[in-house]
């Protein structure tokens, strides 16, 4: 599809947003908006996927819109095509899901007009080819998603979430504005082509890197700028949460890739260090804090932070390799990052859809009030299980492949000559493994508490399976998670053009290897075959089951739980989310959070109830943000006094300011 086609698609989404404002019956509004978004994003997805797979030439277009001396420039290359695939596939899945889920919305008019704008803005960010168009659509994306976060503003906490989000988003955009300003430099040409052409004569590249890491990283959820994410993502309706976590964070990763890998020029040896450090810290903090949450959607939001950390670890490795001249290793690391971008968009959307299904069926987001749902919602449960296994990086699903590629990249890194990187990368590897293990624990907790065991509330007892749209959307994503894990070579080959575009080289073609295996460097070094592992596991499980049922016993008796002979019928005797996390909480307390427990146990014979109190402190918020917030509010309070002066005082202030400015001008010149 030519580039105007993509822009027409974006325009169609914007028009769709306007139709939401037309008065009509609420139900059909939902169908029109989500159905329309589904059609448009599906077309955009197909076009972008074709562009990527056919390895078509880049397209560019200049429109006489916006700033007169700049115009509006758009371009579609392999990188933007890949991110468009991620965006529009996620958007199409979310729109399809919302055809069912959106019907439960109490106030659809707070969601419907902003939803297509959000989709359009994300598409535009990726298509933009100058700083102006990029920042404008970036800000449009922030504002539209802010409006969606605020759609349930009456719910306690959501207003604060929206407030923190909009503040962080504004500061982040400001940082990106500065980054583009520095890159445009003296020439003052804000097109990306000009920035790319003048990359060699650029100074202060380190500042640009820091600004990009902050600006794009805060949007993606990189620690310590992640604080808004676990507040804002869960506050939105579930299909929007899926888009924000699964897709919008990828647009942020795109922003970082575009600035640092494409526009900024040849990497310097130390660029990898800050990226690796923030990535590793983010991964561990996200995984740990996610394990402490009771709100299902908040667990998922923290896990997004963890996965963004994994992506940035791989990006940092790619920068480190590329700056030392090891392009092949850099290509492996970048492929790992991009593979994880795709994977995370798949399973995080799936998990948010599942949490939305739980919300529809039970009205609960608090896991402590769920339980036993696998028996009541078998399809949702099955696909949530797929999502949980995939995101815990377990074979044969897709999350494992990207993490495996990242480990393989780490194993190549002793060749790097810089000592700082040599000392750092083993620790980063350990943190990557730690984050993966913590994520496994977190998802055993999610699935075990919410779907297994006995129901902990009436809402969970009476839950029923959700509508067909939701189930189909989850099924599609679940199947893709398995497919990407079983045929990883296909994905790696599809990523080849954009890796080549960013680094000048790419991983070897994987499709020639037998049995659909993948071998990043050479078969003698390492190889993995998702298909065979999948086949081996299914065959041996089936074989064992068939043999035992055929030749031994196949009789089953259903009985009450044994529980060591003293079964407790009260569901409250089960493990709760807090008690499941207790061992991990105790072992890791102090890493980004501080936990304190107080138990008040009455003496024997005393009839008052026992009391347990758990206090969790987010150390990053308390020591990183609270002082800043206090300072800003303190200054604001001090300035507040200026509002209550007499007219004479105001006049003398004006006079003093005038004298001061004139003096300053006199001294300056």
């Amino acid at each position: 599809m030519p580039l105007p086609g993509y822009l027409i698609g974006v325009a169609a989404l914007l028009v769709l947003a306007l139709t939401a404002l037309l008065p009509r019956r609420i139900r059909s509004g939902t169908v029109v908006i989500y159905g329309g978004s589904l059609v448009v994003t599906a077309v955009l997805f197909a076009a972008a996927a074709w562009h990527l797979l056919a390895n078509a030439a880049g397209l560019s277009l200049s429109l006489p819109l916006g700033v007169p001396w700049l115009g509006a420039n758009f371009r579609l290359d392999a990188l933007s095509a890949f991110i468009l695939v991620v965006i529009d596939f996620g958007a199409a899945a979310a729109s399809y899901y919302a055809l069912g889920y959106g019907r439960h919305e109490h106030e659809p008019m707070r969601v419907l007009p902003f939803y297509p704008v959000f989709l359009a803005a994300m598409n535009l960010v990726v298509l933009a080819d100058d700083a102006f168009a990029f920042l404008l659509s970036w800000e449009m994306m922030s504002l539209a998603s802010w409006a969606l976060v605020m759609s349930h503003h009456q719910v306690p906490g959501n207003a604060r979430a929206g407030y923190v989000y909009i503040v962080m988003a504004s500061i982040g955009t400001f940082a990106l504005l500065m980054a583009f300003g520095l890159m445009a430099g003296d020439i003052g040409d804000y097109t990306f082509a000009a920035m790319r052409a003048h990359a060699s004569e650029r100074t202060a590249t380190g500042v640009v890197l820091a600004l990009a890491l902050f600006g794009a990283g805060s949007k993606a959820g990189l620690a310590p700028f992640h604080v808004w994410l676990p507040l804002a993502h869960p506050a939105a309706p579930s299909h929007v949460s899926a888009l924000m976590s699964g897709v919008m964070t990828k647009v942020a990763v795109y922003g970082f890739l575009r600035i640092v890998f494409d526009l900024l020029g040849t990497p310097v040896w130390w660029w990898g260090i800050p990226v690796l450090a923030t990535g590793a810290v983010t991964a561990v903090i996200g995984a740990l804090l996610g394990l402490m949450q009771n709100d299902l959607k908040r667990v998922l939001a923290y896990s997004t932070i963890e996965n963004i950390g994994v992506i940035f670890i791989a990006l940092g490795l790619a920068l480190g390799f590329q700056s030392h001249g090891y392009s092949a290793a850099a290509a492996l690391a970048l492929t790992a990052a991009l593979f994880h971008v795709l994977n995370h968009s798949l399973f995080k959307s799936l998990l948010f859809f599942g949490s939305g299904a739980l919300l529809t069926a039970t009205g609960e987001r608090n896991m402590a009030r769920l339980g036993g749902l696998l028996n009541r919602m078998p399809m949702t449960g099955l696909f949530m299980l797929v999502g949980c296994v995939a995101i815990s990086a377990l074979p044969p699903f897709n999350g494992f492949v990207s993490e495996w590629l990242a480990f393989q990249a780490i194993l190549l890194s002793p060749v790097l000559s810089s000592w700082a990187l040599k000392l750092m990368i083993p620790a980063v590897g350990a943190m990557l493994a730690l984050a993966a293990a913590l994520a496994g624990a977190a998802y055993v907790r999610v699935f075990g508490i919410a779907f297994l065991g006995r129901p902990r509330s009436d809402a969970a007892t009476n839950a029923t399976e959700v509508d067909r749209f939701s189930v189909t959307a989850m099924a599609a994503l679940g199947i893709l998670c398995l497919a990407a894990g079983v045929f990883p070579g296909v994905v790696i080959d599809a990523l080849e053009p954009l890796v080549r575009q960013l680094l000048g080289t790419a991983m070897a073609h994987q499709s020639q290897l037998g049995w659909l295996a993948i071998a990043p460097i050479a078969e003698s070094r390492s190889s993995y075959d998702g298909l065979l592992v999948f086949l081996f596991i299914t065959t041996s499980a089936l074989l064992a089951a068939v043999i035992i049922h055929r030749f031994a016993s196949d009789q089953t008796r259903i009985a009450p739980p044994w529980d060591c002979g003293f079964p407790q019928n009260d569901p409250a005797t089960q493990y709760t989310p807090e008690s499941f996390a207790q061992p991990v909480r105790r072992v890791f307390s102090g890493f980004g959070f501080a936990a304190s427990e107080a138990v008040d146990m009455p003496r024997p014979g005393d009839l008052r109830p026992a009391h347990f109190e758990l206090k969790l402190k987010d150390l990053i918020w308390d020591y990183g943000y609270q002082p800043v917030v206090n300072t800003v509010f303190g200054i604001a309070d001090a300035l507040n006094r200026l509002q209550f002066l007499t007219i004479r005082q105001y006049l003398s202030l004006v006079f003093a300011a005038l004298v001061f400015l004139l003096l300053a001008l006199a001294i300056w010149t």
């Binding site: 041996s540 031994a552 739980p561 991990v584």
Partner: protein, 318 residues
Amino acid sequence: MTILGNLTIQILQMLLVLLPAPLLIGFIRKVKARLLRKKGPPLIQPYRDLIKLVGKEAVVADSASWLFRAVPYLVFAATWVAAALIPTFATGLLFSWSADLIAIIALLGSARFFLALAGMDVGTGFGGLGSSREMMFATLAEPAMIMIVFAVALIAGSTQLSYVAEFMLSPAVGLRVSLALGLIGLVIVAIAENARIPVDNPATHLELTMVHEAMVLEYSGRHLAMIELSAQLKLLLYVSLIACLFLPWGLAPVGAGIGLHVFGIAAYFAKLAVAGVALAVFETSIAKMRVFRVPDFIGVALMLGLLATLLRFMSGSL
């Protein structure tokens, strides 16, 4: 011809890890009993237990879901596949390339993931207790294992077990500090992962400190048999892994004759016997730890693994 030969070795390998797994447990029990001057059950007692369990009807709790019945087979399959990919008597395994050392660890991770879920499925206090503790141990044991793998893979230049074993057989290895650290770390991880003393006590059934046994408390009949067999297989897997990485003597190289293979099998059984005796002596001479001392214990393995990897990054000869 080579393909056919390798296929034979692969199939032989699959049986060779499955069949002696209960025997290893029986042997360890016997040695432990002897060390306590008891007579101990016969060596084949684990086989008898398994056969008896398989023939009984399975009692499933009424609050359990389908996952509860599927997990024993899934856990068994994942563990068996992982065990079948570790060279025990010959290096030329046909499917060795389909999953490297990292994938083998992840396969064991899958098995643990599902077992922990099964522990929570019935909705009893004990199940949750076992699952939550198991996952806490895993959060440290898994990174430790990955770091040890890093150290070994960096020395051998491969994560592919067949190649690693061949490299370890060659004189290029030499004595290295990082290998020694890795060995100690791997032994610690193996003890923790297999729920042996001092981390967990495989002999007790109703002790509040138990971890693995608490998770599988609700299982019975054929399901319990599969879980028990998986646990035995996992112990054998770790012993084989340690033997393959650190004591690869006797492994038949690719294309070796029948004689070398027979010798390889004999050497493998000898290694199993040595490991069994060592484990029994170790378990008899040490007391079980409190649960919250275990993270320190596994943390040592993590630090050793990290140190070994770091040494490899620093210098090619350490």
